[in-house]
């Protein structure tokens, strides 16, 4: 008896902590999002009983997100920025992870440490570094005008979409490379040798063996950087500041730090969280499937 009860007791403080400060807080968002607002005091009045929930705020938010609503543009923009950034992250990150896992040889340890290094440098420090370089008189403009790529300095920080996307890529890519590397490193070399012995070209072997076997890493890394990007509001604020590059996270920020309608902000948070949960579930299902497919390839 004593032996069996020891483990739950050990887990208890942590479980309790996460229940009180992770699950209960999330319920507080639901309570506010489905609550009402005091007509005289203008304060949100949460409703805790789900049977009495008021869906008015949620339908208001969904209406704004629908085509023609005031948030439709910002919603599409967020989606586009995140997808482009993700694609760029994969295009840059995959070759790097591939090289590190397969071809770095005795440099592997060094390369790995250099690739992991940015994970330990704070996001804000890395954004500050780019803001310095992208100033009107910064090094980027100096180099580009010196090499005549640009005839005159460009205003990188003047609210341009490309700067925001590049900042997102720079900010999030280290979190993608590591899972990619891990999945590529895990691939058994004998699979490739088998493919080679069977006469497959390198490209064919890559497409049929390496790529499917690294699918879990691609998906995992993609999820790992996509979810926080959907909630980002600080990156566009730092490198742009223009409403034309604002993201859906900026709207959540606005409704909580800008006025008396946290109900709207809470409802938008619920919608965002629901969307991201669907993304998560899709990922978990794909992982499951990829592992099964991985099994067939392994049997090749």
């Amino acid at each position: 008896m004593y032996r069996r009860s020891l483990w739950p007791i050990l887990a208890l403080p942590g479980v309790l902590w996460l229940v009180l400060l992770f699950i209960v807080p999330f319920y507080a968002v639901l309570g506010v999002a489905f609550g009402t607002v005091d007509p005289i005091l203008f304060q949100p009045v949460p409703i805790w009983n789900p049977l009495e929930w008021n869906v008015g705020w949620l339908t208001e938010v969904l209406g704004r997100l629908a085509p023609g609503g005031i948030w439709f543009d910002v919603e599409v923009r967020t989606l586009v920025y995140v997808l482009i950034s993700l694609a760029l992250c994969l295009l840059i990150g995959y070759p790097v992870a591939y090289y590190t896992a397969r071809h770095a040889g005795r440099w592997k340890g060094v390369v790995l440490i250099l690739i992991i290094l940015p994970l330990w440098i704070s996001y804000m420090m890395r954004m500050l570094a780019w803001v310095n370089l992208l100033q009107q008189d910064g090094w980027v403009n100096s180099v580009l005008t010196f090499t005549h790529v640009l005839s005159q300095p460009r205003d990188w920080l003047g609210g341009s979409a490309s700067t925001v996307i590049l900042a997102l890529v720079y900010g999030y890519i280290p979190y993608l490379i590591l899972p990619l590397f891990a999945s590529l490193d895990r691939i058994d070399r004998s699979h490739l040798e088998a493919a080679r012995d069977l006469g497959a070209s390198p490209w064919y072997a890559f497409r049929k063996v390496t790529l499917p076997l690294s699918k879990t890493g691609i998906l995992g890394g993609a999820v790992l950087i996509t979810l926080p990007m959907f909630g980002d509001y600080y990156t566009p604020n730092i490198v742009s500041g223009s409403p034309k590059t604002s993201l859906i996270g900026n709207q959540i920020d606005l409704y909580f730090h800008g006025g008396p309608q946290p109900t709207i902000g809470a409802a938008l948070t619920i919608v965002l969280a629901a969307f991201l949960t669907i993304l998560m579930l899709y990922y978990l299902r794909s992982i499951h499937r990829a592992q099964r497919e991985g099994g067939t390839v392994g049997a090749l």
Binding site: V37, D38, P39, I40, L41, F42, Q43, V45, I70, W71, D73, V74, R77, Q136, D155, L157, G158, G159, S160, A161, S240, G241, S242, P243, K244, T245, S246, N250, Q251, L254, Y255, H257, G258, G259, P260, Q261
Partner: protein, 431 residues
């Protein structure tokens, strides 16, 4: 010299919160029971306001410059002629870094108290913490838009002005009985600021002050693309677009007017890729912003703290609308109900309005101007505090009159209208 230049962002950006709160009266769960409990004793009918129709937080009528409100006293003020309490601590509740520490120490030394400075991040959360009893300060900063809640919630005490002679003696006459607090029953004014335009004379070629409608400059700013910004605040941003069209009712709750103003603002994306921000006091002097909606103190602070060596003061310019055509805001100090030193608290309010103290707080630390009769632009220019070309950043009592515009508390419907309009602007349109 005890300037803390890097504390400037704090003391200036708190205005963002302050103004975001304008019309945005909030309240919190903790204030609820308190207000309900006092509903019986605070008789709304007692308020002698002529505002009448518009009802705001706390069920009290909404004040407008042309519809002054005198708030009911929920208890009698302290008697006159009492001796100040001494010893122990005295707590000031205020925005972070918004009062010169040396002045607090001097006050403490004079009355043998240990002065504590407790900051709040914005006035709404300040009210919440007062209501929940989490803090028990002696005096607090308060803005006119949350005054109703503070009074209905009995969070601040009625004043006995016998202890505060400096109000009559030193402060602009218009603020002896301001429209939001007739007879100064609860508050004394602390700082005052107008909204206008700041720009770089070395970049902007148009004669902004000479234009028929200077606000139009934002719609004629193609040449400065990427270097033009508005205040990031729903009332100021939309209000500016209203003023540009000659609409001076900046507390309007007409959806047609507000939505038109928002679509006017959205034209600015294509004109200059407009930005929003609250750091104009720094970005304009440093040269990353060339044309910016700004408050009147911003260029003074920018000149003192941020103008790089080698850039002449004449590179900065400020314009504010003429008398009665643009918004002027102020914030206040009040005595908290939680005080154990009510007499000393009154004396502290009087101390803040002392000419020497108030002036030192302005020029040595805060950068925000108090409404002192004594402050006049030409003296400040002579003393070298303000360069001549920025003399119009200093307000005088002529600037604040019965016709002055002020962003006031809106009804809850009006607040939503303005806030959603701003959200629409911030969403950025198709790109």
């Amino acid at each position: 010299m005890t300037h803390h230049p890097k504390e400037r962002p704090d003391s200036l950006s708190r205005r963002t919160f302050l103004l975001r709160g304008a019309g945005a009266a909030v309240a919190f769960s903790a204030a609820g029971p308190l207000l309900a409990a006092c509903g019986n004793t605070t008789n709304v009918a007692q308020s002698t306001g002529t505002g009448g129709e518009l009802v705001g937080p706390g069920g009290l009528p909404l004040a407008r410059p042309d519809k002054p409100v005198t708030l009911p006293r929920w208890e009698d003020p302290i008697a006159s002629g009492l001796q100040p309490e001494t010893g122990g601590t005295f707590t000031v509740f205020n925005y972070p870094a918004y009062l010169y520490r040396k002045l607090l120490n001097d006050f403490g030394a004079r009355y043998n108290v240990d002065v504590q400075y407790t900051p709040f991040d914005n006035v709404n959360s300040g009210i919440q913490r007062l209501a929940s009893g989490a803090v028990a300060p002696d005096v607090t900063n308060i803005t006119p838009d949350v005054l109703d809640i503070a009074v209905a919630g009995k969070l601040i005490k009625p004043l006995n002005l016998d202890y505060i002679p400096n109000l009559q003696k030193n402060i602009w006459p218009q603020l002896h009985s301001p429209f939001y607090d007739g007879e100064s029953r609860y508050t004394v004014p602390y700082t005052v600021y107008a909204t206008g335009i700041a720009w770089r004379t070395d970049k902007v070629t148009q004669d902004i002050a000479g234009m028929d409608q200077p606000w139009d400059i934002f719609w004629e700013s193609q040449a400065y693309e990427g270097n033009v910004a508005l205040l990031s605040e729903n009332r100021e941003t939309i209000g500016m677009a209203l003023l540009r069209k000659g609409i001076t009712d900046i507390n309007t709750e007409d959806p047609g007017l507000v939505n038109q103003a928002v679509s006017d603002l959205k034209e600015l994306y294509g004109i200059s890729n407009i930005k929003v921000g609250d750091l104009q006091f720094q970005t304009v002097p440093e040269g990353s912003s060339w044309l910016n909606q700004a408050w009147s103190g911003d260029m003074i602070a920018g000149y003192i703290y941020y103008l790089p060596k080698g850039t002449p003061a004449s590179a900065l310019a400020f314009w504010k609308p003429p008398h009665g055509k643009g918004p002027i805001q102020n914030d206040c100090f009040a005595v908290c109900s939680s005080t154990k030193k009510p007499v000393l608290s009154h004396l502290f309010l009087n101390y803040l309005l002392d000419n020497g103290v108030s002036y030192s707080n302005f020029v040595d630390f805060n950068g925000y101007q108090p409404p002192l009769n004594e402050i006049d632009p030409s003296t400040l220019v002579q003393k070298g505090v303000v360069p001549e070309n920025l003399a119009n950043s200093v307000l005088t009592n002529d600037d604040l009159g019965p016709d002055s515009l002020q962003y006031c508390t809106l009804t809850s419907k009006g607040q939503q209208l303005w806030e959603d309009g701003y959200s629409n602007f911030l969403a950025g349109g198709g790109s």
